[in-house]
Subunit: 321 residues, 2 copies
């Protein structure tokens, strides 16, 4: 185990891949590994990229990768698909486009899908960011499909978040829900060759003017990843936002919030694990379920009964409860 | 409280609305209310409807409502938007289209958005279904925006699930992720007047043939909600699936799975609530966060330390640990 961590810190690719697999598989050693690497994290800058399926996020990531690499930066990419059960080795269709970078030692790409993990996808993503950070990558890109709540949770791990839209015949702005407005540091109107692009950009700008009261006003950048249009401007905007985050103290605040969430998640993970391990040992869960199905008991009283049986309340109430 | 439950069981609309608000607000009385109504649930048939924004779900629900009402069935509609922070009184834009039904006592419509609730949206949706069930509605429609993990979780509460797609220039099938294939009992190709509709239907049929090995093969129904095309066929397919569910014993199995999930969620809800209430009383959570931000401690050891301080382990380990 110590060996694996040492190799990771030396920049060994296979060690990084193996550690991420352990995270995904909820390996019992995982927590000890994460403890070991924690002191070596906090250096990578994390960029989140989200947008609806078909908005061209992968091509955009491809263009950004080229830009970042030509600036001499090393990059880890985590492509998260909360609707896919595939992880790791199983490659998403559009990951294939990234194969140009497969032989570049300065780039590490990993797909993640939903696993039955107790901790959930946002937790696994956060832990993978830490591995890539300790591995020595200067930047970590987290790409998520879709704009639902689970994607928003995932993107909360980012220092800078791009929201990718397309000019889609009036539908585009409709899909910018309140949650998305709040997380976007930069809006990208991709596929800007499509009709309606200028109008979409104008509408997004209008929404920003209406809602944004922060010291950072999200810029709206038009790009066409396929023909490499607007990538320079997007990269400049990313660097500008990073500068703003660092100088204003917002980066520290963002990371403090992230630690709050991570500590909360870790506590709940430990608690759930312990509770369900204990239930497995001590409780006839299926019998309880059957009684509720037959409407002989209600789920609310049964949940209490279950917790009493595993003596949950005894401990938590403590000496003074 | 008893009064409110009695009124609900008598079919009082205001009682239903008030109970749902208490669920959303995580009212302390909520659990007692749900316990009271539980024996009166299990009669409503639950239909889930999911699909990307702009796929015309609301118009489709509108058409189905008319069909159901003309068959003499009473209907509750829960319109869930996991990307919106608005609930209850705050009406989504497209809810306005449903106002035809606002004066019909046989229809009850409610919008739900994300709340900071510990229990989460899928839990609140499940509880609202129970209220509408006890209220006496024959059918409950749960409509969700989007096709992410949170939507899948919500739709798991349904006995029959419709997945709504549109013929969108080749993009449509790309968005049918594995999770969606698994939850769809009926596929709807809405806006079937748009070009590419037949091809989309053919592609979906092909995917079903490739992946489906169940005794129920999801039919693919083309509709155009705006001009009321295909609604008869969709309604017939819904009735057919309901018949299949009831006769095959799948309905009982589905509801057993649902109870398993609900009991699990209820246990975790109680546990989290107790843990964080206890942390608030006993722990300097912010100090812990600060130490992690400064990299003086790691989140994993800190989570353990927190749980030890609130004596979580004492109880759960019990006499033999």
């Amino acid at each position: 185990m110590q060996q694996l961590v040492t190799e990771l810190l030396q920049g060994n690719r296979r060690a990084a891949a193996r550690l991420i697999s352990q995270i995904e598989n909820d390996d019992p050693q995982k927590t000890d590994l994460l403890k070991e690497i924690y002191p070596h994290t906090g250096r990578a800058y994390v960029i989140g990229i989200t947008g609806a399926p078909g908005s061209g996020k992968s091509s955009l990531v491809d263009c950004l990768l080229q830009q970042m690499r030509s600036d001499g930066l090393t990059v880890g990419v985590i492509a998260v698909d909360p609707t896919s059960p595939f992880s790791g080795g199983a490659i998403l269709g559009d990951r294939i486009r990234m194969q140009d970078h497969a032989l570049d030692p300065g780039v590490f790409i990993r797909s993640m899908g939903t696993r039955g993990s107790l901790g959930g996808l946002s937790r696994a993503t956060g832990e993978t960011i830490q591995v890539l950070d300790a591995y020595g990558k200067n930047l970590v890109l987290v790409e998520t499909v879709g704009v639902g709540q689970s994607e928003i949770d995932i993107v909360k791990a980012a220092d800078t978040t791009l929201v990718v839209l397309t000019p889609a015949g009036g539908d585009s702005v409709q899909t910018i829900k309140a949650g998305i407005m709040e997380i976007a540091d930069i809006f990208v109107i991709n596929k800007c060759d499509l009709p309606g692009s200028d109008r979409t950009a104008a509408e997004v700008n209008m929404m920003i003017d209406m809602k944004n009261g922060e010291s950072w006003r999200p810029p709206v950048i038009s790009t066409n990843a396929v023909s490499n249009i607007g990538i320079d401007q997007l990269w400049a905007a990313l660097l500008e936002h990073r500068g703003y985050m660092e100088k204003s103290g917002r980066l520290l605040e963002t990371r403090r919030q992230r630690v709050r969430r991570e500590l909360t998640e870790q506590v709940e993970y430990l608690v759930k694990k312990r509770i369900w391990d204990r239930v497995k040992e001590k409780i006839e869960f299926n019998d309880m379920v059957e009684k509720i199905v037959q409407h002989q008991q209600d789920p609310y009283s049964t949940a209490h009964e279950l917790l009493e049986k595993i003596k949950f309340y005894n401990g938590i109430v403590g000496e003074d409860g």
